[in-house]
Symmetry: C2
Subunit: 287 residues, 2 copies
């Protein structure tokens, strides 16, 4: 049970967390902070928040757990601002989708509070954003990756582990570098490919017609291109090295497809598509 | 009302057509042909087919409408085999996702029956295949593109138009080249990107772990990589030139993303992702 939870950045992730904890009866008072007052008012109206504050200082000062759910590029400034105001027992976590940059920011700002910071990343979301996009079941059976540091208090980690467990999530532990490598492949790279596809097609002369004939496959494929541009800009800046390497290797894969088409190499194409299909069917399930 | 419908290739597309026409009361007897007898038996069991035949000749001989729903690479051989056996009034159509190669095959094989061939392409499907994947509502509110030739009988076109209208589809007319250009962009290119991504990731050392942390976005993005490898091999061979051109231009778009990341160009990344998001939201709907 978390008596007082502070959420900095009340969007899809933060509001779903609050709703899930409320549903589990695992939270007392939820206080929010964000730059958009209307969004915060909406949060109170929707029952996501009990109250909100106009400053980070006021938001965090009595909190037992502080969840920082802002874009990666805003993390360090938020950490700097909340540090002087938190209780000496407060536990802090974040939800950033790249952990290396967040941990660097935490090391730079938290000082003696660093052991009470538990880096986290819920592998869940939709392409929607804002407080109205939140829903209590978002984390049900989804993985939450925690990447505690050598100096992180085990008691702090246990509190964050329990918080997400109350939301119905599966908790996993990875080290920071490993997390960033895996997520670059499974999340950041596909997002880049989808953004690039829609951007490319939208620049063609007949793009209205192209989108007109788009079928369900195209809708599914490009859904992640409706993600929040600020969040994804920050992911690129935070995890750029890993991402650039993966895009380069992916382009070599595309080169192989092009060669097979140019050579009319039916066997090679069939092998490639067959392998991809069987991997996708077996590893993801035909869902 | 089609008294006798012959379906050559009883997969997702053909069986969904039969089920939709039955539901509309717009078809009498449905006879199927395919290479897999178990699939045909299943078709009778599921009510997709009234009967099946062991040869194309027997399947088409009394049919009023013949629907050829085989992979693009098998079209010409099927056309050659059915031509001597069809009634002099029979109307033929196909469902191939690239029209140029199908029309060439029709010109080569149909002779005096060419005016009764109406090239078609339903912009509908799922990643599943086989007769069991079919369902009556597949074509509801989906676009069917017909690409009749200069010499196509208007009466033949009207029969195929009406057939698809009974399925709840929206019928559109494009010329062959235009169809192939638009579909290369909106369907063939995304399929190549998804196949290439899954194939690339499945070759990595830690691919089990990568797929383990895949979230909903990855599932959606890669769903089309579960498509039928034979069908997509044939699309590559039939529409390869258009596809190779598009992949090349898409790679230039990826190069721009890489440059922006390497330069730490936050404004450029935000602009690119913002444009993609707004295009996707407005043109596709946030579905």
């Amino acid at each position: 049970m978390i008596d007082r939870l502070a959420i900095i950045g009340v969007g899809l992730i933060g509001s779903s967390l609050s709703l899930a904890l409320r549903q589990a009866g695992a939270v007392g008072h939820v206080v929010g902070y964000g730059r958009n007052q209307k969004n915060l008012e909406k949060g109170v109206e929707l029952g996501v928040l009990d109250s909100f504050e106009a400053s980070i200082k006021n938001c965090v000062q009595d909190a037992d757990v502080v969840v920082v759910a802002v874009p990666l590029g805003a993390m360090q400034a938020v950490f700097a601002e909340l540090k002087p105001s938190i209780k000496s027992t407060a536990v802090i976590t974040d939800v950033g989708s790249s952990k290396g940059s967040v941990v660097s920011a935490a090391r730079a700002e938290f000082g003696d509070a660093l052991p009470r910071f538990v880096p986290g990343h819920p592998i869940a979301g939709t392409e929607k954003s804002g407080v109205e996009a939140g829903f209590a079941s978002l984390y049900q059976k989804r993985r939450i990756i925690l990447t505690p540091l050598a100096q992180t208090d085990q008691a702090a980690t246990a509190i964050i582990d329990e918080m997400w467990t109350h939301c119905g999530a599966i908790i996993e532990y990875l080290d920071v570098e490993h997390h960033d490598k895996v997520l670059a492949a499974t999340s950041h790279l596909p997002h880049m490919l989808a953004f690039a596809l829609v951007h490319y097609l939208s620049g063609l002369n007949d793009h209205d017609e192209i989108f007109r004939y788009a079928a369900g496959g195209f809708r599914d494929f490009t859904r992640i291109a409706s993600g929040d541009p600020v969040m994804w800009r920050d992911v690129c800046l935070a995890n750029g090295n890993a991402l650039v390497g993966l895009i380069g290797q992916y382009q070599q894969e595309l080169d192989r497809v092009v060669s097979a088409i140019n050579d009319g190499n039916a066997d090679e194409l069939l092998k490639l598509f067959g392998k991809a299909k069987s991997e996708r069917d077996s590893l993801i399930g035909n869902c």
